[in-house]
Subunit: 235 residues, 2 copies
């Protein structure tokens, strides 16, 4: 039977063997939500990059630049990691270079995986179907907040674990715990998130609309899949 | 208001500031359960040490040696980290040098804290009362399994968080998640643990009695407190 595991923080990635598996990078607030939104709104491909400098290099080559640090758009950029902003921008057929505090870092750390995709509540069902169709075991990689555990990414991981049960074997304690957490909050995800540290941090920045959007399921019927350094939509 | 936080793995210790706080080291299966059992059964003090070599040096100075790796007693030692074995041994007034796979390491990593104590289900109520009596904020440090998250330590952390609510502020997402997990499994802790990776690993070693003992609450009305490198009982 295929296995499913949940890496609760990028700092724990060394505890997992990713070879031959599909890594699902999760940064619900907001990088992976924004990736799905951007690709659904006309962006052709997204290049996740680790640093602002690297992002600027791609801008010099014609990419649209998107950069977020500490929840805010980096000075000099017109867009950060807001899914609603990507929908509004409608970068038709554009290439976007994106760097964020946690999400793009988690993606880089997952490089040992056979394939890397991006997951969030906004494309939950598409991710679940993609994983079910595939033949690989799965590691869900929570981006967390500055290397620590966070609630929203764990809840999403739990939602995926639950949807893939019983066709996958839960192979670590984090998959058991994530699923239990999700089941406890499934009927009121937004309520759970309102208690969280990240929500309180982001709410100060006046982006509640974005958060509310990120906690809704199945807006987008696509999966961002990393191919040769570029995320493209698979439907 | 005092804060309470839960560090889910020794690998995440860098995410927490321990200065001025009480660190509760948690290794339910079985180091911190064994520490409480040993001190309740006549041991005068326990010196937690990182390596088997260091343990042997203390044995040469008259300590009883206790060493566990991979769930088993290290060759050449008569005791590892089994609480039932400590009860049976009854090392009256002895000094014990103890090294374990996860628990003693978590203790070393918590050295920045103002004080370090050991917690497990077997002394849950004593730990809760100790923390309530104290004046410090609290970080619960889960020893985990080889630097990764585990279920049993997180459940215990959740039990402490729940008992200390509402006199402490839950200051990170892990404290919220641990409490939710605990509340979900509070009426059947053993059932939750039987699903876990650690249980399956340890059950193969034929120590179910030990595990069952470790999952029962309040056998011992004492708290192991680290003073000058030695754990002694406070009642």
């Amino acid at each position: 039977m295929r296995t499913i595991e949940v890496c609760l923080s990028p700092a724990l990635i060394g505890c997992y063997s990713l070879q031959g598996k599909t890594a699902v990078v999760i940064d619900v607030l907001r990088a992976t939500s924004a990736m799905a939104a951007a690709l659904a709104s006309g962006v052709k491909a997204i290049r996740p990059v680790a640093t602002v400098d690297e992002c600027l290099e791609w801008v010099a080559q014609g990419y649209e630049g998107a950069a977020e640090r500490e929840g805010q758009v980096v000075a000099g950029f017109s867009i950060g990691n807001s899914p609603l902003a990507f929908i509004k921008a409608g970068y038709q057929d554009a290439l976007v270079a994106l760097t964020t505090t946690n999400g793009t870092k988690a993606m880089k750390l997952s490089h040992d995986a056979a394939e890397i995709i991006a997951g969030a509540f906004v494309n939950l069902e598409a991710v679940v179907q993609y994983l079910q169709r595939g033949e690989r075991s799965v590691v869900l990689v929570c981006a967390g907040w500055k290397d620590n555990f966070n609630l929203e990414d764990t809840l999403f991981a739990g939602a995926v674990v639950h949807a893939l049960t019983p066709s996958f074997e839960k192979a670590d304690d984090a998959s058991l715990a994530s699923e239990a957490l999700y089941l406890q909050h499934a009927t009121n995800l937004m309520g759970a998130i309102e208690q969280s540290s990240h929500f309180r941090r982001l709410a100060k920045l006046g982006i509640e609309d974005d958060i509310r959007f990120c906690m809704q399921t199945n807006h987008f019927d696509l999966v961002p899949v990393l191919k040769d350094g570029l995320l493209i939509a698979e439907r």
